[in-house]
Symmetry: C2
Subunit: 209 residues, 2 copies
């Protein structure tokens, strides 16, 4: 059975998954790289990196995934829809390697990139987008890639089977919160946590049988 | 040198230190006892309780403390100021055992309880209250007892030396947040975290030299 998974989703101690404002130069706003420094230090990201608990979690991102769904704000800075040449933040080799569905109110033609990533642009509800992505993924799982608004919508719609959140010990004070409107999420998920020597805490949410 | 400390301060995963509404029957609102179940299960709280990491942290609450400061909302439910007979939630033997300063805009005469607790009622800024409490504490430390609004005010005023926060894996969705307005707290505190088999994560904040 194909599952819907979230991996390496970083938030600050005060629950923000991105700072503000999001711009071309600063995709995470005033958060800069602070939410992802733990990830850049893993062997999964960089072959000179570490192989401890952070790496063990980080490398779960890819295996078994057959499609990704992301929000418009993950694909580009505000206004990217007005730039017909925008192809995402990631250059010619995006790190997705699967069909990747970008939720937007202004769809455009699909973009086939190198390395197996094809961006498709969809105006759809979470359930509709998941049905499309599942078909593309076949027996494999679908990853919800973020940002926080999209993750929250999929959680609120009861469409997530597994989520890995990384809580980073910084206080951003402002930005976009992950947790808003998700009261009692613990009723439907088993939550485990493990703190890492790097200072971050890994939280896993696994849907209860 | 007398320090200012916070202990066993529990918050939900989404950062709420109390639910809503706070009433005589439900001091933590819809949170019920969920934020403190980890504490009730420690040997420090109950002699049949456990002696693991939760107990190791919990029992740091008392030693070395010579006075406590608390907010009006910790002392009683909304409107307690209108009840001349209200003496706090804790019955005749409050668990503070020191002079305890209650911040309120409507001070009343001091209340001497059994077991060493005397409640004093102060209309004062955090810095003013701390000066009074330090004098009472002598060489000992002053504990900031909460609730979240008071903790936040003392943190924002730079008056806290050590803080122990316990993050409980529930999402309350509403209530009073601890973290609002504390951007970049990590600049002045070393933050460590350790997850407990009970499911909670202990976070310590120690003021940098």
């Amino acid at each position: 059975m194909s599952r819907t998974r979230i991996h390496n989703f970083a938030i600050s101690l005060d629950g923000f998954a991105t700072g503000e404002p999001q711009t071309l130069e600063s995709p995470f706003g005033h958060a800069g790289q602070r939410l992802h420094a733990w990830m850049f230090a893993t062997r999964w990201w960089d072959e000179s990196g570490g192989e401890g608990v952070d790496n063990a979690f980080a490398q779960l991102h890819g295996p078994g995934i057959g499609a990704e769904i992301m929000g418009a704000n993950k694909f580009g800075p505000p206004g990217w829809q007005d730039d017909p040449d925008w192809t995402g933040w990631w250059g010619p080799h995006p790190p997705f390697h699967t069909p990747t569905y970008v939720l937007t109110h202004r769809p455009r033609p699909s973009l086939e990139m190198e390395g197996g990533t094809t961006f498709h642009f969809l105006e759809a509800t979470p359930a509709e987008a998941l049905a499309v992505a599942r078909k593309a993924a076949g027996e494999s799982d679908v990853r919800i890639g973020g940002g926080p608004t999209v993750v929250r919508e999929f959680l609120a719609a009861g469409l997530v089977d597994h989520m890995h959140v990384v809580q980073v010990p910084v206080l951003l004070g402002r930005g976009v919160r992950l947790w808003d409107g998700l009261e009692s999420l613990e009723d439907t998920f088993a939550i485990e946590s493990v703190s890492s020597p790097s200072g971050v805490t890994h939280l896993t949410f696994t849907r209860k049988g």
